[in-house]
Amino acid sequence: MDWESWVVSTLNRALAYGTPLLWGTLGEIYAERAGVVNLGVEGMMILGAFSAFAVAQSVGDPWLGLLAAAVVGAGAALIHALFTVTLRANQYVSGLALTIFGLGFSGLLGARWVGIPLANPLPKLTVPGLSQLPVLGPALFQNQSYLTYIGLFLAVVLWLVLYKTRWGIVIRSVGESPATADALGVNVFLVRYLCLAFGGAMAGVAGGFLSVEYRPAWTEGMTAGTGWIVIALTIFAAWNPLRAVWGVLLFSGLYHLAYRLQAWFPPEFLKLMPYAFAILVLAIAGLRGARQLAPGALGIPYTRGEK
């Protein structure tokens, strides 16, 4: 294989592999910016993957499937919100419960759907004009997913909202210092609920992408740890939507470069790469001191009227 097709296919595949990571990471960034860690991403994604597949298969429209995934993801996140925001339960444990429940529940409901290929997966997109460019055309504009472009667009919009609008200030202040935000008349609980629900919808679509486009079928546990990689990338991106794009590209690029080594390494080593990379990526973030950038009240339940 010559170097050109090598670069092209790596970039092309990296974009596809990175799409669910990007959607999930953008959602988790908003949840954590509002001060709530949601370790249930894996659970919300698998519920999203199952509902997207089930709806797309029964109704016949993959877009409706994705919509269902978003609704289910948001609903699952609201359970987490109820426990962590209203009942002030431990955020880690509630998120873990959501993941354990999601994996079990989707497996239970999905048992009769396993192994059936999706009749009409999401169509691919080839951008007219741009796809004719040398190298860049086939790498970035041929056979891509609509969700890849929407995801990149959302990253820019979400960055603008977070840093350039009043809403963004409100969200960040709720995550940084909820008591101050409360004193200024911000409804801390409402903001946290909304950000969590948004994060859940994004995670749901990320899961839906897997089952209606990436591998259009339903397999139990098909998210295979993607949700956890999302949480690692959220930290790596220092809770910044634009940095999330670079983080995701770096991560999935590395992953596909590793696949080029398959002549020399056993396949099991390539499969464990993403998980090893996730640790590596966090170690790098740790060396750069990313933790100081975390929202000040991350992980701490807010109680009104307490110091």
Binding site: N90, L98, G102, G104
Partner: protein
């Protein structure tokens, strides 16, 4: 104090023992109630489901033995996680540490020429060490580089799963196993004794109960236990008291990982007698042990009871699969629900209800 009619609600700082017990039972009942709805939606009448479960697990000797068999790995992992959670180290990696122990035990059983009486002790020793090392990596990463412990321990589970897959497909694949991805069967001397007509490898069970007692003593009676509790409950105080966070984290994860490693030894030496695909070695014991430990609320001895409870739930899952043709994932659904309700009702423990009919004030108005 808040009032609701003749009832007064008072906050308390530390929940009483009956309150903890009552609230935990309430959570389990709520989870059972929700489970009934899921059974009904699945087309299985809830009462029939519960009847099948009780009859298939507690109703026969075989069923009881199955409960015990599932309890063993849950107990060992659970006790280790209690220890980790007490020091606020989020070890979500018991699954990988268990597999590391299984790998080490298989390595000793298959590739050493130890005299038979030494073989099993060496397997337990190697399994403990392998789990401990696999557990100490995230501890180092957390203390030195600030790597989030939830993610690193969890990611290492996947890494270990693929290491096991590689071993059984590659270098350790047993020549006598033809097409299967198994190692060869261990020599007889590497098999753990069982309670007759069951799969209960009682030595591992004894080790598990012993570990629970030792960890309870460690926590309550030793300086190390004290340091560990302080760094969990108040990191600042620990810092001023000169307690080394690095030391505490490393020791905690050495023990926590090691105990999970022992669970892995028990599974391969007691039941399978070979190394086989990870999904067959462990049915997610390392993950369920998180709930075992959380339900035990920091007490290693209580983990004996909660491990039994989840051993029962696993056995119930088997029974439902066989008798009601329900997927084994019901276990995951039920586990998730219990964990949700457990943390959801936690606030209740901190309120004391008293009957105070003659009080002044009116419904729901908050005083102090």
């Amino acid at each position: 104090m808040r009032r609701l009619g003749p009832l007064a609600f008072e906050r308390r700082l530390t929940p009483s023992r009956p309150a903890v017990l009552g609230v935990s039972l309430l959570a389990i009942l709520a989870a059972l109630g929700t489970m009934s709805i899921i059974f009904a939606a699945y087309g299985v009448p809830p009462l029939r489901a519960y009847a099948v479960i009780i009859k298939g697990t507690l109703g026969t000797r075989f069923g009881l033995m199955e409960v015990l068999r599932r309890t063993i790995p849950l107990l060992l992992c659970g006790v280790g996680l209690v220890l980790a959670f007490r020091s606020k180290f989020w070890n979500i990696g018991a699954e990988g540490q268990l597999l590391a122990g299984a790998v080490a035990a298989a390595g000793v059983a298959l590739f050493t020429d130890l005299p038979p009486p030494l073989l099993l002790p060496a397997m337990f020793g190697a399994g403990f060490l392998a789990g401990a090392i696999w557990g100490m990596v995230p501890a180092l990463l957390k203390v030195r580089l600030g790597v989030n412990d939830v993610i690193s321990t969890l990611m290492l589970n996947y890494v270990m799963i693929y290491i096991v897959e590689w071993l059984i497909h590659g270098p350790w694949k047993g020549p006598t196993m033809r097409g299967f991805a198994y190692t060869d069967t261990f020599p007889r001397a590497a098999w753990l004794p069982l309670i007759p007509r069951s799969m209960v490898h009682w030595p591992t069970l004894a080790v598990g109960v012993g570990a629970a007692i030792l960890v309870a003593l460690l926590l309550s009676r030793t300086r190390l236990g004290y340091e560990l509790r302080v760094s969990g409950e108040s990191p600042d105080a620990a810092h001023y008291a000169g307690i080394s966070f690095l030391k505490v984290s490393l020791v905690v994860m050495f023990l926590s990982g090691g105990l999970a490693g022992l669970a892995g030894v028990g599974e391969v030496a007691g039941i399978h007698h070979k190394l086989l695909p990870p999904i067959q070695i462990s049915l997610g014991y390392g993950y369920t042990a998180i709930i075992v430990a959380w339900l035990a609320r920091g007490s290693p001895l209580a983990a004996v009871v909660t491990a039994l409870l989840f051993g029962f739930i696993f056995a119930a899952g088997d029974e439902m699969k066989v008798t009601l043709q329900m997927p084994f994932q019901v276990v995951g659904v039920f586990s998730g629900l219990i964990l949700f309700f457990l943390i959801g009702v936690e606030l209740l423990m901190y309120w004391r209800v008293r009957f105070l009919p003659k009080g002044e004030g009116w419904t729901g108005k908050a005083g102090s």
